[in-house]
Structures are given as structure tokens and as C-alpha cells.
Symmetry: none
Subunit: 417 residues, 2 copies
């Protein structure tokens, strides 16, 4: 079963807002086995919408349109539906009662003609009552394709999708099973991962697709199985994930869809009852910010010293001035001293430290731009590594933060195993 | 002049990621007077891409395709370009040299066949060198339509758009003059701002459009003037911005397109030769991370103590334990003490402190979830405010960080004026 998603509105086409409605819809449809074959954003223009409808007619089973339902004159979705279905607008008494109740009863305002017009719908449509707002959803069928119109306001759209659209599709359509499995890997780039698993990938059965979702420092692999026999799909995914794990066990850190290295580290530290702190120079608090964004992190993340200025390294962390004079602030020696100091100061089991030069210009050091030293103090000592993360500044901060977490995760794994 | 934007990749169609590349591209094109008539997301499927190309042929001047250029098997864009243009892939020596330098010289790894294949491009294309990664951009023309292929990795895509695509379009196409002026406001919501400027907005000339770009805690107003007489446009924008400033002077913080409150603060602090530090509990280093992300911030941002655990507040910042016992960690008193301590510790002119309960569960305090105290120590004393930022956790951290910066900015303004 196939669907297309159309978003209507100029604010998306000039880049003023990012379309998040389509991703929400796609995820909801994917979960019930509906394949989204395309997403489109087009302007509030009747002819453009009609052309798009005609293109999709009988090519997909469902077309979902969001936006273009507000009370102002540049919202044209309803008129376009009437033209496409050769229908006319009539007042829907149920919607009118709801809109009147909302405006007069809840907002305590006199109802205007613009408000009342929200109750106009094509005479042959199935109305989807929108308890969250004034614009109703509409469901109309032409030959093999259903056209659904939804308001663009995210929480109204979400309400109608969850309460009306998804249950109605589940009742009325037969769909295949779709099973996804995500594998989160860290520390190797997309092409290196692809090379390592090439043979495995070539041997995947036809009904399982593999996708690579690369981010700086990490690659998410997604397996998707489609078919009619749910049990068979689950077994096939399971056995293929096992054989994948045997090949790249060293870089796999998690299997959950929304897992990140921060949540993986959080689970490991909680399980082992260990704590972490950070001393950050070039990452400027980013690592602390990533760690503390995880709910429940207060049980293992104790705190951080962002020693951005050299004085802060000396005065707050107690890094010896002569160490800085001898080796410069961007050095393995200073990174180690920072990690050991903050571990002491915050009384934690582990401590990460970063010092480097993120650019664009050189700071209190002659180190090449992009150079970063990462130190990790553990219960057994301290390890330091040197990196060059290139440019721009944003990328250096990003990659240094992610790499630090990766080093930490690998070390904690050693005590878990 | 018209453009279409196509994003390729299944991860968007199943809702796993939100497409932010299209909004970036749309904004960049809009700025130079190119109208985006549609955006599409389609799957990594050759036939689907070819059909879409054919539909857009001669209907738009430029088709920009992002994604589908990685080294792995699920990327098909290059092969599709070859088929559409009846061309074949050849090695581009310049790209090969760049990829080799990047892999062998920078990452210190032997180059693989997959890496080398990144240098394969259609023989007749204009190559756009990608200094930020291995996949080059491509520019090919068929009849009246140019097809441009860009990598999907956001910072690589952005680099090519800013350094190659936009300048090339500006050189090769005639477009109307478009002048934008952005006004950054802080502290009032979209509808309140809209009410205050309603009369002014209704009196804008026909050729000037106003857009609201709301974000938590701030609203960006964008004026866009379109026409053929550049001087007239500039004069009209200038006089309308002046009359706007007269109405909402109290909430305007800046006028530059890419300005954020962090960069505004950076300029003010640099100008006045003042310094800042932070002591963060519930914001977990986010404020430090925002401040230090600004290039050149090392001249005014000295550092931060992220005192996530109560012990860190006592041991590192020296907040008296009896103050915590008496008022709890989430209190105006503790926030003030944190701000004054870190100001002292980091020897700065200003210091921000946050303490609160971001949820989802209560921590070392009985304070209601969402409660945050923000303190700002200045050369003249300390001010504290209490907020409740609701839920979820992510929103509390976000809004507390933005509100802290807003309080800081307002205070620094006092000394500047």
C-alpha cells in the first residue's frame, strides 16, 4: 500500500520553516506498513495542487494533504478539493456546533463569519472531527485513491492522524508487515563500515533492505524487512543482525531506534554505578551539555569545568602553570592534567578532558587549527589521544565531542565485559 | 527564475529524519531572487528520480538534488544523472587528488576502491569541488534546465551552496532585486509582536513583504522588498525599519541576518572589554556551549562550572552547605551564590547561573518540574529571577538557556547606552 504526502504553504518554499509534519506522518504510516513513495511541498496555488492530484491519481492509494485550511483568503485547499471532486461546499452542522462552542464557549469571543466558514466542507466528504482546533479533516475517494486533507498546525494534525486517520486505514486496508531494526555504530566512517560488511550485505535476502544513515563520527544502519509473514520477517531480521554483530561487534554500541552514544553511556554508567565529569576547553561545555540532556543523568554526571581561558585551567582546575609554559595549553600533558584534576574535584570515577584549537584563528597556542587532545582519566590512570578534526569550527567542536564520548564508551565497556 | 528542490533518501520517507537541507536551500535561493516552486522527497530509486526529472524538464530553470551521493550501494544519484544525460562516469583527476589527500594525508588510512569511486563523475558535468568531504557537487544542463547534484551531509551541502552554487547562479542568471532586512527581537511572543506592529504592517508598500520567524523566546521579523530599482528598494526598507524601531525599540536586539543573541552578546562584551562566565546546574553546560560556539569568544568567555551534582556546588563553587539546607538547591539564594562564586573563581565582570528542575523526575529538590532560577552577577551586584518553563526536559533546558542570555544582553545594554 502506497501513500504520498503533500504540504501546502509558501512559508516552507521560502525556507522560513522546516516541514516537520511530513516526517511525523511518514513515521506514523510506516509503522502500519504503508509505504510513503513521495513527499511534496507546493505553494498555495489551486492549479499546482490540481496538477499534483492528477499526477498521483491511481498511482498511490492515499494522498495526505496538510495545510491550506486556515480561515484566510490564501488558503485554498477546500476549494481545490471541490474542483477536483466536482463537488460544492456545504455547512456541516457538527463542525459548526464545535467551532461555535470553541470560539464562544472557550475563547469567550463573538463568532465571526470567517470562523463560521470553517464549517464549510465538500458535500460528499467524510468529515474527520478536529477536537484540537477549528479546521476539520476531510476524507474523499476518487477511483482507487483516497485524498485526505488535514490542518497544518502540528498538534491538530497529529491529533487527527493518531485518532482518525491511522485507525481508519488499519480498518479499511490490507497492509504488509514492516519491521525495522536500527544498529548504531561509532568510530568508523560510512565507507569503511560499508567495506567491512560488503559480503554480508550482498547476502541479504531480497525482502530486507539496508540503509546507511551517516552522521559525524557515527553511522546508523537500518534494516527494513517487508512481507506478509510477520514471524518469518522477525526471524530473518534477528539472524541477520546476529551475523552482522559477529563482523562489526567492535563498533556497535546500541540497537534502539532513538539510541545515541549519550544514552548508551548513561545506561552503562548507571548499571556499573560509576560517575563521570568533564573538563572542557575547545568543546566549551558541549560534552557536558550532551551528557546532561539525557533524562536521569544526574545519577552519574556530576559536573564539569569549562576552562575556556588559560587562567581558568590554572586557577579553577589547578593545572600547574609551568606545565602550560613547557608544553603549551594545547598538549597531551595539559589534557591529562585537566582530566585528572576534574576527576579529583568532582570526585568521579571517570573524567573526560579536551583542549584544542577550534579556529577560525589561533588562540593561546601555536597548535594547528583543528588540533584537539582528548584525555580520559579512569580508575586505572589516564589515556590521551591527539586528533585533527579540520575545519570549520562547528565541525571541530562536534567531532571532538563525539570522539570524546566514543573513547569513554569504549573504556566503560571494558569493565562491563 | 524558478527552482525545484529534490531530496533523495528513504530515511526521510520513513520519517526517521526531518529534511532540513531543503529549507536551507530554499532560504539561500530566495535571498538571490530565485523562486522555489516545489520541494520533493523521493526514494533512492532510479526510475522514480528519472520520472521526476522528466516532469520538471523545462518547467523550472534549476533542479537541485541533495543526497544519494555517498560511497555505499544505496546511493544512486550519479548513475541516474548518467542515464538522464546519456553520459558515462569518468574519473575526475582533481576530485581523485582531493579524495586521496583527504583519506591518505589527513585521515592516514589506505585509500579503498569505494573512496576512489567518489571521483567518478558524468563526463560532461561541471564539477563543483567539495572541500568539506569526498563527494563532489555536479552541474549539468539539458535544454532550459540545469540539474545540480549535492551531497546530503548538511555542512558539505551548505559549503557547496554558499561557495559554488549561489555565486554561479548570480553570475549566470538575471534575477529581480531582492532586499531582505532582518530584525531580531527577544522576549515577546509572535502574536504580541504582531499586535504591537499591526498598524505599521498594514501601511507597508505593496512591494515589501513581512514574514514572522518565531523561535522559543525570540521572533525574527524579515522584510523583503522585490523590484527593479535597487535604490528605491533600499530607501523604502530603510525608512520602514526606522518606523518599526520607533514602535518596538524595547525588544529589538539586532539587525543582522545571521545574528543570534550569542553573537550580539559577543559584540557588546568585546566592545566594552568585559568578560563572562557561567555556573550551570539544570542547563548542564548549554549556555557555555552556546557562548563558546561563537568564533572569537575566547576573548570574553572565560569558562564555566557545570555543577550538576549538589556536591559540585559545594566543593567546586563553594556554595555554603547551610544555604542549600535552608533554601534547597533550587532557590534564588543558591542561584545568586553560584553566580557570585563563579564570577570570583573565573575573575569575570559578569556571571550567569542556573539552578532548576528540568524533569522528567524530581532531583535533589522538591521544586516543581520546570522551575528554574536564573541569577546574573554584574559589577554592581546580583539579580535573580524565577521561571517555570513547563515540560518536556528538552524545552526547559532550551528556554532556560535562551532566557539567561536574554537577561545578560539586557544588562550589558545598560552600560553601553
Amino acid at each position: 500500500m502506497k501513500a504520498a504526502i503533500i504540504t501546502i504553504g509558501d512559508e516552507i518554499l521560502i525556507g522560513q520553516i522546516v516541514d516537520t509534519n511530513s516526517a511525523f506522518l511518514a513515521k506514523a504510516l510506516d509503522r502500519i506498513g504503508v509505504e510513503v513513495s513521495e513527499m511534496l511541498s507546493i505553494s498555495d496555488d489551486k492549479k499546482h495542487i490540481l496538477d499534483t492530484f492528477a499526477q498521483l491519481q491511481n498511482k498511490v492509494d492515499v494522498v495526505i494533504v496538510t495545510g491550506g485550511l486556515g480561515p484566510t483568503k490564501d488558503d485554498v485547499t477546500k476549494k481545490t478539493f471541490c474542483e477536483y471532486f466536482n463537488d460544492e461546499l456545504v455547512v456541516n452542522p457538527e463542525v459548526l456546533a464545535h467551532v461555535t462552542q470553541l470560539i464562544e464557549g472557550f475563547y469567550k469571543r463573538p463568532i465571526s463569519q470567517l470562523n463560521k466558514d470553517q464549517a464549510l466542507v465538500p458535500s460528499t466528504c467524510t468529515v474527520l472531527q478536529n477536537k484540537m482546533g477549528t479546521a476539520p479533516g476531510m476524507w474523499m475517494k476518487k477511483e482507487d485513491t483516497v485524498y485526505i486533507s488535514l490542518p497544518g498546525v502540528p498538534y491538530e494534525m497529529k491529533y487527527l492522524v493518531e485518532e482518525e486517520i491511522i485507525p481508519k486505514i488499519v480498518r479499511e486496508y490490507k497492509r504488509p508487515y514492516i519491521i525495522h531494526k536500527t544498529i548504531l555504530t561509532y568510530g568508523q566512517g560510512e565507507s569503511l563500515v560499508a567495506e567491512r560488511i560488503e559480503h554480508w550485505e550482498n547476502n541479504l535476502p531480497e525482502f530486507i533492505k539496508l540503509a546507511y544513515l551517516p552522521n559525524p563520527g557515527r553511522v546508523r544502519l537500518r534494516l527494513t524487512a517487508r512481507g506478509t509473514d510477520k514471524e518469518e520477517l522477525e526471524k530473518a531480521i534477528e539472524s541477520n543482525v546476529q551475523s552482522l554483530d559477529a563482523i562489526i561487534h567492535d563498533i556497535i554500541v546500541g540497537y534502539e531506534e532513538n539510541e545515541t552514544i549519550e544514552t548508551v553511556i548513561g545506561k552503562l554508567l548507571s548499571k556499573e554505578n560509576k560517575t563521570i565529569s568533564t573538563a572542557e576547553s575547545c568543546t566549551g561545555g558541549r560534552i557536558a551539555s550532551l551528557l546532561s540532556a539525557v533524562p536521569g543523568s544526574s545519577s552519574y554526571f556530576k559536573g564539569s569545568v569549562v576552562s575556556y581561558a588559560t587562567e581558568a585551567k590554572v586557577n579553577v582546575l589547578g593545572v600547574p602553570q609551568n606545565l602550560i609554559d613547557q608544553f603549551t595549553v594545547v598538549s597531551a600533558e595539559v589534557a591529562s592534567a585537566m582530566a585528572l584534576s576534574v576527576k579529583d574535584l568532582m570526585k568521579t570515577d571517570y573524567a573526560l578532558a579536551t583542549t584544542g584549537n577550534a579556529g577560525p584563528s589561533k588562540g593561546d597556542s601555536d597548535a594547528e587549527i583543528g588540533t584537539v587532545f582528548i584525555a580520559l582519566a579512569t580508575p586505572n590512570g589516564v589515556i590521551v589521544e591527539e586528533f585533527n578534526f579540520g575545519q570549520p569550527r562547528e565541525k571541530v567542536i562536534d567531532r571532538a565531542s563525539v570522539k570524546s564520548l566514543e573513547i569513554l564508551q569504549k573504556e566503560i565497556l571494558k569493565i562491563v565485559q
